[in-house]
Amino acid sequence: MPSSTITRATVTRRGDRVFSGLSRGAGIAILVILAGVATFLFVEGRAGIFGDTEEMSGSDSFLQYVGPLVFGTVFAATLALLFAAPLAVAVALYISHYAPRRLAQTLGYIIDLLAAIPSVVFGIWGITVLAPLLTDNIYPWLNANLDFIPFFSGTVSTSGRSMLTAGLVLAVMILPIVTAISREVFLQTPRLHEEASLALGATRWEMIRQAVIPYGRSGVISGAMLGLGRALGETMAVAIILSPSDGYFWSVLTNQNSNTIASNIALKFPEAYGLDVNRLIATGLVLFAITFVVNALARRIANAGFSGADG
């Protein structure tokens, strides 16, 4: 936008035209793709929402069908964010402000590498390594000592296919994206802010609290929301790990769990036919809507918060 005020740029060369055309095309393409996906979901899903439930397996109405799935999706993603966000911020701060330069670089690489691991691998790791480990060591203890909290009540799953395992694996999966974005924002804290804080006698921790975190807050929130988006849509890992049941379940240790939308689609789609397919696509539309709302909220929070250097 500022470039439009520069009068010297009135001479347009071919390169400018080509580039502006290309970038405009890319912008339009993303809108067209998004509209295409939304249209597909709506057209194909409509029959699943309004169609005759007699011809579908299970529930009496679409709301009754999708309700537990929405609950499970949001629950699993929230758990993941709860575990991942604080850890990610801590790791990012360590890399940006505490670690020696060389170690910081290596750590950064390793964390970025985590993002490249396919989710199926996380799922297999979750069910073969993490789940037995937790079932043998942590879950029975939580259940025995904290079962007055509804989350930890019930009978502990013997194979660890519980909501907590799914949440933890999702947390590991979204950790890199939240960390990477937080690290980048923290690194961009103006040197003057930091030095001013230190010059006033702040310790390093106080400086981080006064200068780095307020500056990076909106960036961290954006990163967390990107991570939340990934957790909401994660499919294979959850399908492999979670033991799903029909209904709403608050306990995170049992084998009775609300499934997530994406995992439910992955499990049911291969054998589904007729209106059941439409209903699955309709749940995809619901997931689309949830993701949209989450992103809109995130943008709102990020914009309303402390917006970087302006403050």
């Binding site: 199926v120 073969t128 296919r161 033991s243 029909d246 084998n255 009775q256 291969p270 054998e271």
Partner: protein
């Protein structure tokens, strides 16, 4: 259709990966894995290579004209049950050796989708865990040439075992009557020391341990057949009927795990767990002996193969249809009653000779001893009995060109 296939392939690939990762210390691990080419192609490829070359030559000599398989060429298109996917790999490889000019394509899109595609004219045959329903048979008259409609051929018997994880039994095989199995999966029997289980197992020291029943989290023909078994053999206890989707229509409770491999892994992971799964894939887990006609039958391919003989043909359409009502309460104690019977659905009349020849040659191969051995090697299926083979041969012989 396309993306659905990809999804199915992805899921099976995951399943085999998962299985290899958690169960695979014995030979059953690689044999049935659908993504695993060498395991399924080896055995059937060299076996039927010499046999069928002379078989079709002398067998249908009295029939009008089917060309020997080796001289056929063309493409046969099938779609349907994913339960047959592994068996189909064995059949494709074996038939390829017998009829090098023929390509058999099979798209494992699911039973319902397969029947739909067949009835829409999109395939030459369908694979389906359920026979054509009456109204589907009516509409098959429109897509098939002539007005005789389609027929069902029970070509694939996949035994379902009931594996359990009770190390304290130390090798003793658990006896479970249908009522006890149904009670466990309906969450009515919740502890291994329950009197009902003890009554079936005199002298066995049953642990005081919670039962964790494991079911399929995805929709599955295995679930449908297992619940059909409970509904037939213990109708007072299992009141949910034959269902495909456990969490939507079942009793709730228990643990859900994806695919056969997931169920097996879940049972193996948790002491006190019990599940139901394709018998060829349960690995080292012990499987329960199931109550039949007053005694207990351990699973074996032969015992499971007799299920078709023990079942009534529900005719009424024409003499060649082999739709059966699977009988889960056989009279004799040499039949294992929990098995998935999957059909090939073909037209009785096709519009052209080429398709007729291809369908007859392939179906003849599949129902032959070689074909059944090929699917046993690649998918661990149980063989259909010689009596049933003879009946099926009559049906296949009746396939002809319309007019």
């Amino acid at each position: 259709m396309r993306f659905r296939t990809k999804r199915a392939v992805a899921v099976t690939a995951v399943a085999s990966l998962l299985f290899a990762a958690c169960g695979g210390d014995d030979d059953t691990a690689d044999a049935p894995a659908p993504a695993d080419e060498p395991a399924s192609t080896d055995a059937p490829a060299d076996e039927p290579a010499d046999e069928p070359a002379d078989e079709p030559a002398d067998e249908p000599a009295d029939e009008p004209a089917p060309a020997p398989a080796a001289e056929l060429s063309g493409t046969l298109i099938g779609a349907g049950a994913s339960s047959q996917a592994a068996a189909m790999q064995g059949w494709q490889a074996g038939f390829q050796a017998a009829a090098p000019g023929v390509t058999v394509e099979y798209d494992p899109i699911g039973s319902g989708g397969g029947r739909k595609q067949f009835l829409g004219g999109g395939s030459d045959f369908a694979g389906s865990d359920a026979a054509l329903k009456d109204e589907e048979w009516e509409s098959s008259k429109e897509v098939c040439a002539g007005d005789l409609g389609a027929i069902n051929l029970p070509h694939y018997i996949s035994p379902i075992a009931v594996p359990y994880n009770l190390p304290s039994l130390d090798g003793t095989t658990l006896n479970l009557s249908p009522e006890v199995i149904a009670g466990i999966f309906a969450n009515e029997i919740t502890n291994w020391s329950d009197a009902a289980i003890a009554a079936d197992n005199p002298g066995v020291d049953l642990p005081d341990l919670a039962i964790n029943p494991v079911h399929r989290a995805d929709e599955s023909g295995t679930t449908e057949n297992f619940t059909d078994y409970m509904a037939q053999a213990a109708p007072d206890v299992w009141t949910y009927g034959a269902i495909e989707a456990w969490d939507a229509d079942g009793p709730g409770g228990g643990e859900g795990a994806p695919q056969t491999s997931g169920v097996v892994a879940a049972v193996a992971a948790g002491e006190g767990s019990i599940g139901y799964a394709d018998a060829s894939q349960i690995g080292d887990l012990p499987a329960a002996a199931v109550g039949v006609a007053g005694s207990f039958v351990e699973f074996s391919p032969e015992a499971a193969g007799r299920i078709v003989d023990a079942s009534e043909r529900t005719g009424g359409r024409n003499d060649y249809d082999f739709k059966i009502e699977v009988n889960r309460t056989p009279d004799s104690a040499d039949t294992y009653p929990i098995a998935l019977v999957s059909y090939h659905i073909v037209c009785l009349e096709y519009a052209d000779q080429e398709t007729v020849d291809l369908v007859k040659a392939f179906m003849t191969y599949v129902s032959s001893d070689e074909g059944q051995a090929a699917s046993a090697a690649s998918a661990g299926s149980a063989p259909i009995s010689p009596e049933v083979q003879a009946e099926i041969a009559k049906s296949i012989a009746a396939i002809s060109v319309a007019g």
